[in-house]
Symmetry: C2
Subunit: 117 residues, 2 copies
DNA sequence: GCGACGTACAACCATATGGTTGTACGAGTG
DNA sequence: CACTCGTACAACCATATGGTTGTACGTCGC
């Protein structure tokens, strides 16, 4: 087991504008929690919680640098989430293909792709 | 205004395994709410709520067919969500590019891309 | 060593979420 | 028309979420 992606946590973490903005800022991997917090109209502790949620979802990591902890987004988690959406879109495209090609088939090929869980 | 995508709702809707499974099933756009509900170990009303959440997020639409309402996923909403994740990944790639190319720049070009809201 | 800075975490509150049951209504079927 | 099926929605409950304040700990500068 190499830790299966927890889509509940990943999408849940992304379902908040503040957290998405933290993800965007943390791409540069330069700011600590306090510096991040200075951008938002809420307490330091609130931002800290948001970072913790992103961290549990695997969307960001924290690295000690001096007395700060630098927050850095993890592109791998972004990729995993994006890939799931891609799979849904491919399903959709496959359905279209099947529909356009409904010219007398043997009607036994309903192949399914594993998409989640 | 052509209704800006509500990422909070979209990602929030995707942050639940049952709802993701409904999205997957509704790609085929053949089942009504009751038929969808039969797949899950919860009440019909619970599934109905999940569908309503997906509908508010724009991830599925309902169309009356006979006395049923067929649920159909909207690939456009999936694309919008995927594109946002892609933009984050591109930011990340840009950061890498900038880092590898840190060979004496004029240090005044911090171009930013609009990514959200 | 002391103070300030950055972080972490617990306690608390208001509201949202995910589930339940019950009631009501619109559309087909006998 | 009466009945059933599929849907919709309200009321309710337990728990999760997003925010607050307060306290505590580690690390650097003096």
């Amino acid at each position: 087991m190499i830790a299966p992606p927890d889509f509940d946590r990943i999408f849940g973490a992304l379902a908040d504008a503040t957290r998405r903005d933290i993800v965007r800022r943390a791409v540069d991997g330069e700011e600590g929690v306090a510096e991040l917090a200075s951008h938002y109209p809420m307490s330091f502790a609130a931002v800290q919680k948001h970072v913790a949620i992103l961290e549990r979802a695997g969307l960001v990591t924290k690295e000690r640098v001096g007395r700060r902890k630098v927050v850095r987004t993890n592109p791998e988690a972004l990729r995993v989430a994006r890939d799931l959406l891609n799979r849904y879109e491919e399903l959709w495209r496959g359905r279209i293909d099947r529909m356009t090609a409904l010219v007398a088939e043997p009607s036994g090929t309903t192949s399914r792709t594993e998409t989640d869980q």
